[in-house]
């Protein structure tokens, strides 16, 4: 559905996107992650035809967005980050206008309006002025607009930004539901959201794509997958020295002491498991062992590891 190939966008001497490539297959829900200023919004704006690329191509449904701007825009439902709306319009009036400029008419438009109002939970407020709505409802109006022409592709730029936890939850459920029938490119900072909803994750930073894979693959290939916590009753310095000497152990950090018990974090190489050897070491040294735990890496670890600047 989406194919971005070596996309570059320069603003003067500053490159917002440099050589980004990724794909989204039909029906996939793709999480588009990156720190602020990573180039997410710029990439999205190129895909939606709001900005032209400096070089590289972006295609939607096999059509180049620069060569067929109107055809590709018809296939995209776009919710911009700031959710711009006409404040002085009523919800139905706004959706009617948006439907009209997207080429919907008459009975069909009326039916679509009822459908999206229902789907986005706007039924109770549909006659209200947009300026009187809360942020959560505005977000829903934006989403209803994105859906009105029933596009196969939805591009949502931080749809849960600035909402309260209940609103986040309801928007997230809505996106999840929509994911069953649409291809979705979901830009967000909220990693738990991505873990819950997305089939695939694209991580971008500094305008380049750093990783593009399923959440479980990303997590399992991460180096930070190999973090082990251990609590033993031993002299901290000696324990640290002994454990550091084991194969595949990269670093041992003495976290704290709880009474006689010392807590250590141990970083090991990815794809290895040192727990058995640690247990053996404790037995040989005669250290009482209270806990030994390998941490499952989270998407947060992956994200931080890939995009951390220090």
């Amino acid at each position: 559905m989406i194919k971005v190939d070596n996309l570059t966008k320069r603003f003067g001497r500053h490159s917002a996107v440099s050589g980004a490539s990724f794909e989204a297959a039909d029906g996939e829900v793709v999480g588009f992650l990156g720190p602020n200023g990573a180039g997410k919004t710029t990439t999205i704006r190129i895909l939606t035809g709001f900005l032209p690329a400096t070089s590289g191509t972006a295609t939607v449904d096999g059509l180049d967005v620069a060569e067929h701007p109107l055809e590709t825009r018809r296939r995209i439902g776009y919710l911009p980050e700031s959710v711009p709306l006409y404040r002085d319009m009523r919800i139905r009036e706004y959706l009617r206008f948006r439907g009209h400029i997207k080429g919907l008419r008459g009975d069909f438009l009326r039916r679509r309006m009822d459908e999206v109002i229902d789907r986005c939970g706007l039924g109770d407020v549909r006659r209200k002025m947009i300026k009187t709505l809360s942020k959560g409802f505005r977000q829903r109006v934006g989403l209803a607009d994105a859906l009105i022409h029933d596009p196969p592709l939805l591009i949502l730029d931080e749809p849960t930004n600035g909402l309260d936890p209940n609103q986040i939850r309801s928007i997230r459920n809505l996106v999840k539901e929509l994911g069953e029938s649409h291809t979705i490119l979901l830009s967000t900072h909220i990693l738990s959201e991505v873990e819950m909803i997305c089939d695939k994750i694209v991580i971008i930073d500094g305008g380049t794509v750093l990783a593009s894979d399923t959440p479980s693959n990303l997590v399992s290939t991460m180096r930070s997958a190999g973090r082990i916590s251990i609590e033993v009753k031993a002299d901290p310095e000696r324990a640290q020295e002994k454990m550091s000497a084991l194969d595949q152990v990269k670093k041992v950090i003495h976290e704290r002491n709880r009474g006689n018990w010392g807590e250590f974090s141990i970083l090991v190489e990815s794809g290895t498991d040192t727990r058995e050897r640690l247990a053996n070491l404790a037995r040989e040294e005669g250290w009482p062992l209270r806990s030994l735990h390998r941490h499952a890496a989270t998407l947060e670890d992956v994200f931080v590891e890939l995009t951390r600047k220090d």
Binding site: F11, R45, T48, G49, F50, L51, P52, L70, E71, R73, R74, I76, Y78, P80, S82, P84, L85, Y86, R87, D88, F97, R98, H100, I101, K102, G103, D145
Partner: protein, 250 residues
């Protein structure tokens, strides 16, 4: 064409959905009514060898409110969309920039024409109430309203252009006022410096006050018509490019 009409209709209705449009309408009605009654008083006091239409449109206040009108009706057009971010939703819908520019421009032009309806009626009232022949010819009335339309088409295009340059309505309005004043006073260059320099005929050609003098006497010149319409088309073309350029740059 469908999309253009949809944008036109939305923009046109927008003028009447806030007090703004109604305030302007009453302002123009009052100012023109005041001009008509002072013109009649002037005709009553002393013989003037000009028609009522001519005198009304040569009242000292005319250019003040006439030129102030354009920034008010155009400054919002694109600046507000840009500020609110709705330009992004408009231009990521299947809408061409040209449809957007023309839709907004024509809607404003239509609203502007509506603003002049009361003034047009004021001239009809004279005949209705007095049973006399109106103290002006059909030619001068037709001429002056033709010129109002022509100047409107250019000045609204200039305002639309200014609005496309910025996200601040105030700045758009200031640019519009500035450009319109410059355009107006360029027409006075020949009054100040005389006709004895090579470009003098150019300044006569674009002088709005000379156009008004001629048209309100019923002297309709095709070169003036072509001047306003082609300049309007050119400015709209620039607006189209300014919008695309801004979008492409930032």
């Amino acid at each position: 064409m469908g999309t253009l009409l949809i944008i036109l209709r939305k923009e046109f209705r927008g003028f009447f959905q806030s007090p703004f449009g109604w305030i302007l309408l009453s302002l123009i009605t009052v100012m023109q009514g005041w001009s008509v009654s002072s013109a009649m008083k002037a005709l009553q006091d002393a013989p003037i060898p000009e028609s009522l239409v001519y005198i009304v449109f040569h009242m000292p206040q005319f250019w003040f409110y006439f030129l102030a009108l354009f920034p008010l009706i155009t400054m919002r057009l694109f600046a507000e969309e840009e500020r609110a971010g709705t330009l992004e939703t408009l231009l990521t819908a299947p809408v061409q920039t040209a449809q957007l520019v023309l839709g907004k421009y024509l809607a404003t032009l239509c609203f502007y024409l509506v603003l002049w309806i009361p003034s047009f009626l004021q001239f009809q009232i004279f005949g209705l109430l007095t049973d006399l022949d109106p103290p002006f010819s059909t030619g001068s009335l037709g001429g002056v309203f033709l010129l109002i339309v022509l100047m409107g088409s250019l000045f609204i295009a200039i305002g639309t252009f200014a609005s496309s340059l910025t996200s601040s309505q105030i700045i758009a309005g200031v640019i519009t006022v500035g450009l319109l004043f410059i355009h107006y006073f360029l027409g006075y260059i020949t009054v100040i410096y005389g006709d004895q320099f090579p470009a003098a005929s150019l300044f006569h050609h674009i002088s709005a006050s000379e156009h008004l003098r001629d048209f309100s006497r019923g002297l309709i010149s095709s070169s003036t018509i072509i001047y306003y319409l082609s300049a309007a088309a050119f400015v709209l073309f620039m607006t189209h490019h300014a919008l695309n350029y801004r979008r492409w740059k930032s």
